[in-house]
Structures are given as C-alpha cells and as structure tokens.
C-alpha cells in the first residue's frame, strides 16, 4: 500500500495519491478511486494518517447537507414561505410553519412581519435530498434572525480550518477578541462583539485564517496577531 504523498502536501486534480485497495478514503468528493489507484479531484491539502487518506479542498463552493447550520439572506417571500440565499447551487426555502411557533394563517397574518427581504438569519437545513431545493428551519437553539453584529464571507471549503480541531481555532478567536462568533458552514460568519472595534479585530483574524489556511502553526500566529491588533486599538484588559 504505497501512499505517494506527504501529510499537508498541496495536491492538484488528477494527482496520484496512493495505490492499493486497502487505503481508506475519508472524503467523498475530493478523492476518487479508479481501479486500484486513488487520485485527488481538487486542489487541496493531503491528510495522511497511516492507512487513511483525505484531501481538504482549498477552493470550493458550499453544497448543502442535512443538519448543517448556515447563514442565509432572505431574497424573496411568498404567501407562506420565504426564499433564502444560502450561497449554494440551490436557493433554500423556509416555510412559515418552520419559522413560527404558532399556526400560520395567510389571511390574517403577513410574512413580512417576521422576515423581510434582505434580512439575515441563522438556520438549519432540515430537508435536502438533491431532487428538491433544501428546506430550512429556524426552530432550535441559536437559530433565528440576525439583528446585530457583522457578517463576513469566506471561501466555504476553508470553514473547517477556521473551526480547527474540535473548535480550537474559533474558540481561541472568541476568547481573545471577546466576541460571539457563529460560523455558517456556507462560509458566512456572524460576529458580535462588545464594541465595533472588537468585531473588526475578529474579522481581520478570520480573514487571516482564510488567507493562510494551508500554512502551519496558524493558531499561535493568529493569537499573536489578535493581541497586537487589540493593543493597537487600546482594547486590552
């Protein structure tokens, strides 16, 4: 079972990663098998662990999955449902029943009272089977309308790096900047801080993580970066 690439090496589409049937593949879309050989399907970083191989994409778009938390923008509204942009190849639908805690009567009530075009929301994908557009829900802890803070967009395939191993990166950023941060898997990040300056530092840190995704020792560098930026703005302590 020869694995032909090193851990954290940059690979490109069509690159031979390993030969042999006993190599395990973790990802579904970034690695593919042709006969006995494994090839990369995207530009990414190879993750090699014993007999397992995986490629983490550096570029990419968001493809919906059930139970994903995403940040959406209302782009249209109908009689009983909203149309939501979730930065995916499909627009999502949010039904009134999934947004309100009471039965919805279109004769007496107006959807605009709850969400209007342009409103942002944290939502969960409740149904998606590829034959129809994804359906969202805002019932649940931490879900619902966004009324304060800032939104940043990053490349969706770099979200895992922003979160880090067991949340190490995002928790560090939250702690250091004293901001609350919600990361949508579609690459939209919601930042709420004690002051706009704190939010600004958090956003700069998030952008730094996005830009330097493929480098090593990133967590420590970002921590130092945040402390320095806070000091510049007189926000320490």
């Amino acid at each position: 079972m020869p694995v032909l690439v090193q851990h954290r090496q940059i690979v490109v589409p069509g690159q031979l990663l390993a030969e042999g049937r006993d190599v395990e593949v973790k990802s579904q879309h970034t690695v593919y098998r042709a006969g006995d050989k494994l090839y990369s399907a995207v530009i990414g970083l190879a993750e090699v662990q014993n007999n397992r191989i995986n490629v983490i994409a550096l570029e990419g778009f968001y493809f919906p999955k059930v139970d994903d938390i995403v940040i959406g923008i209302i782009i249209d509204l109908g009689l009983t449902s909203w149309t939501v942009d979730i930065r995916a190849p499909y627009t999502a639908i949010l039904h009134a029943n999934d947004a309100l805690n009471k039965p919805f009567n279109p004769l007496k009530d107006d959807l605009r009272r709850y969400f209007d075009v342009g409103d942002l929301l944290v939502a969960k994908i409740s149904v998606f089977d590829r034959t129809r557009n994804p359906i969202l829900t805002v019932r649940g802890k931490g879900l619902g309308k966004i009324t304060k803070g800032k939104i940043v967009e990053i490349v969706p395939s770099r979200v895992p790096r922003l979160i880090g191993k067991k949340g190490s990166m995002i928790n560090m950023i939250k702690e250091e900047t004293k901001c609350q941060i919600v990361v949508g898997l579609n690459g939209r990040v919601w930042v709420v801080g004690p002051t706009p300056h704190h939010e600004e530092v958090a956003i700069l840190a998030i952008k730094k993580v996005e830009r330097e995704t493929h480098t090593t020792g990133l967590t420590d560098r970002v921590r130092a970066f945040i402390r320095e930026e806070l000091k510049k703005r007189d926000l320490t302590g």
Partner: protein, 242 residues
Amino acid sequence: MKLEGLKLINEEGLRIDGRKPDELRPVVMEVGVLKNADGSAYVQQGNTKVIAAVYGPREIHPKHLTLPDRAILRTRYHMVPYSTDERKSPAPTRREIELSKVIREALESVIFVELYPRTTIDVFIEVIQADAGTRTAGIMAASLALADAGIPMRDLIAAVAVGKVDGQLVLDINQLEDEYGEADMPIAMMPSLGKIVLLQLNGVLTEDDFKQALQLAKKGIMKLYEYEQQALKKKYVEIKPE
C-alpha cells in the same frame, strides 16, 4: 496557396520561429486572474493568449434546461474582435460554435457532473490574441479555471496541436505553419489517466504519421501538464505566513 520561396523549415532543421520540431512555444500560465469569477486562468503559448472564467455550480436559467440527474455544462469559446489580423466580428461564427461544442464535450468527460444535479457550470473562454493553437490553449485555461473554482474533476486537461509542415511532423504549430502546412491535429488528454478527450485532424496524415504525431503530442502534453500543476500550486506557495 503557398507563398513563393517560403520555407517553413530551414537547412538546419529549425522552424520559422527558430524552434526545433519537437519544441513547444514559451508558456505562461496563471490561475485566479479574475476576481468576480468563481475560478479563472490565463494561458499564453507563444503569441496565443487565452483567458478562461468559470461560474458555478449554480442554478440554471432558463429553468427548462435543468437535468434531474446531473449538472449541465455550458461552454463558450469566443475570439475577441482584436484577436486576429483583420477585425473579427464579435458574433459567434460557425467555427466558434463548433469549438465550443468539442471543448464542452472534453470538459464534460473530466468533471463529476453527476454530483451536482439540477445545476449548471458555465465556462467562458476568451481568445485575446490568436496565433494558432487557440482551442488547445483554451481547453487548458478552462481546466485550470475549473480547478481554481474547486469543482471536483478527474484530472486536468493538457492539450497541444501537432502539425505537418514541409513533410515533417512538428509540435505546437503557430499561425504560419497552420496556414501553409499540410496538416494540423489538436489533441487534448487527461495525462495522468492517459485518456484522450479531444482529437481533431485537419489535412492529410498517413497512418504512420498519425502514430508518430500522437507520440509527439503526448510528449508535449506531459510537459504542459507539469506547467499546469506548477501554476495551480504557485497560487498557494506565494502566500507565506506573515
């Protein structure tokens, strides 16, 4: 009609631009050149300059083109009016429509279209300057742009044309060799899988010539493949930790 006294290969066996028969033109490749596209690339081979942009996968408009089990691919190969000696009308010609089709079919064979049902992937190839080999440069630019957009694909595509001029097979022909030569055969491949995704032939080749031309093209393709891989990686090697 050949110009009187025009020799495409001189006594030393060198071509009109000083290259050896199996030599490629100088290559420049760059990825991520356009900010607004999801993926983009620039490819230059000698005086041929091509830019490609990719959008998607995204929702299809008009809706009736949707396929329930796979993504559709829409490809436009287009030459800008100032790409040739004489102004080219910007309207798509018969030739451009044909090339759009064969390039689309080549790209369809490398993209995992079945992963993204009911969506479209749009590829725009603009020839900025034409000096033969625009379809091969275009297909390479498109494959780099697709990789830059993060769209899963089996392999990059590398492509080159082989021609026959003054009775000799030559690699990567330029405009003069194309116009006054005896044959022009563009070939595109998925190099690491060894599969041919596009092959056209304009002119006459013997069976032996054809086999040799294929070998010659494969040699050129492997070199171009390396340039492509370098171009893709360069984007990330350049971003160093601050």
